[in-house]
């Protein structure tokens, strides 16, 4: 009976993370069949200044959309509006034709990586990833180790995150993205602060994601023309 209504028993109370209470066992995330993101006639305002209005956006499976634009042109605001953190002043953002507001399917499909990398300084990289796994009700440590190894973070897996360099933290944030296996990735300036080797790794991951019918919406100062992503990327300038 307990499994039926999905209240996962508290696997380990001694786990210090209070979010372990989370209920409802999660179904494994397979990318949805008809997946498309459409933003219709969006207008966003910061304070009294209208950043952009009447903006149209659409993203299909396997595509990457690069939002270019000068500083302060509202790139971050647009990303936060699309991922549901912020409500657009006008217009709608639709996922598979349905508005993203309180849309559970959309929440299960979207992953956001902003300027703030969402990592707890006191926790170690492994624990941070474990926290995000619990958030989705999944727990498998082998996946954590393989992801960390993929991002070359295994050697500092148990160090407190506060001691990691900025580049390592960005890679850890990417590891979280990999771990959550969401179909839509929304990345805000993913390439800033990463060295050349890291950049190739990130591009490689994005390519794999696109190949697996994933979708990416990212902003970046550098143009992606020379990078391996260029083939699949459309550019929209604000």
């Amino acid at each position: 009976m307990q499994a039926k209504h999905g209240i996962a028993k508290l696997p380990f109370l001694q786990n210090h993370c209070c979010i372990a209470f989370m209920s409802s066992a999660a179904r494994p995330h397979q990318p949805d069949t008809v997946a498309s993101l459409a933003a219709v006639d969006i207008r966003c305002q910061r304070g009294e200044r209208t950043l952009f209005s009447g903006l149209e956006l659409s993203l299909e499976r396997g595509q990457c959309l690069h939002i270019a634009g000068a500083n302060g042109s509202g790139k971050t605001t647009l990303l936060r509006t699309v991922c549901g953190l912020r409500k657009a002043d006008e217009g709608h953002v639709r996922w598979q034709g349905k508005d993203i507001n309180d849309n559970h399917d959309f929440a299960r499909a979207v992953a956001y990586l902003g300027h703030k990398d969402g990592l707890k300084d006191a926790l170690s990289p492994a624990e941070n990833l474990q926290f995000y796994q619990q958030l989705d009700g999944v727990l498998n440590t082998t996946l954590i180790d393989s992801t960390l190894q993929r991002m070359q973070l295994l050697q500092c897996a148990d160090l407190a995150t506060v001691n990691l360099s900025f580049g390592q933290r960005r890679r850890l944030a990417f590891a979280r993205l990999l771990l959550q296996r969401k179909s839509l990735w929304i990345l805000d300036e993913p390439f800033t602060g990463i060295d050349i080797a890291g950049r190739d790794l990130v591009e490689q991951i994005c390519l794999e994601h696109l190949a697996a019918d994933g979708m990416i919406l990212l902003t970046s100062h550098q143009s992606l023309d020379h990078s391996s992503l260029a083939s699949a990327t459309r550019v929209v300038t604000l």
Partner: protein
């Protein structure tokens, strides 16, 4: 078309028309003077009755006439808080800018009336209790209400982005209105703990007619005064918020 249907969609349309700042601005141009006149008529008549005609209270003598100012203010302070909370709820649920404007413009007026209720309450009680402040249930509730109002206004000015400020203030107003009855109940219980029923009773319907009518007139008059100030402040706020929109620019340029 049965009457209810037509009334309903008239309300529905006017509700939405009021929703748009521009419509509100044009409509309120007519409504504001009407409220003003109603206030003047009712209040002066009520004041005249209250001060001149109503007989002195057998027990408290003439100091009882303060009731014609204290009770309307006290009633309004609570009424305005409830209106503010409803406007906030409407604003949060249907995302109507105008609802937030109404809520935010009501806060200062409500605070003014609460202060007034407090001051007149203590003035009224002073001769009877011999002290300016008495931990009486109603006065204490008014004081707490004053803090609630200042909390709401303080929260609004704390944010730099107007949009978040409006929504956060609306949420606080809604939470506040849920807790106000609990506060009132707890203060009533608390004050009954300290001393028996307070000396000066509310009056209320037990009062003879010629004492009661001025009270109702004054209360009604004050309510229209609230409406008048609310519309006036709301018009200012609309002008300020919509200053980038074209209709405001045309209107201002026409004025030269």
């Amino acid at each position: 078309m049965n009457p209810f249907k037509s009334i309903w969609n008239f309300l529905y349309i006017s509700f939405h028309r009021l929703g748009s700042p521009r419509e509100f601005y044009t409509i309120s141009a007519y409504a504001t003077p009407v409220f003003g006149l109603l206030f003047l008529g009712l209040s002066t008549y009520g004041a005249y009755l209250g001060l001149f005609v109503a007989p002195a209270d057998y027990q408290q003598g003439d100091s009882f006439r303060i009731i014609y100012v204290h009770v309307p203010a006290a009633w309004l302070s609570l009424f305005i808080y409830v209106v503010m909370a409803c406007a906030s709820a409407i604003g949060l649920i249907w995302r109507m800018k105008m609802a937030f404007v109404v809520a935010l413009c009501s806060a200062p007026i409500g605070a003014a009336f609460t202060f007034l209720a407090l001051a007149t309450g203590s003035l009224w009680g002073a001769p009877i209790w011999g002290t300016w402040w008495e931990w009486d249930a109603r006065l204490t509730s008014e004081l707490i209400l004053l803090f609630l109002y200042s909390g709401v206004m303080a929260l609004y000015y704390a944010f730099d982005d107007r949009r978040t400020a409006e929504r956060a203030t609306a949420m606080l107003a809604v939470v506040g209105v849920v807790i106000v009855p609990i506060i009132h109940y707890s203060v009533e219980w608390w004050s009954s703990l300290h001393q028996g029923a307070t000396v000066f009773r509310e009056g209320g319907p037990a009062m003879p007619a010629n004492m009661l009518t001025p009270l109702l007139l004054m209360a009604l008059g004050f309510t229209f005064f609230y409406g008048y100030c609310l519309f006036h402040r709301a018009r200012n706020m609309v002008l300020h918020n919509e200053r980038n929109s074209s209709w405001v620019r045309e209107m201002i340029n026409e004025l030269e």
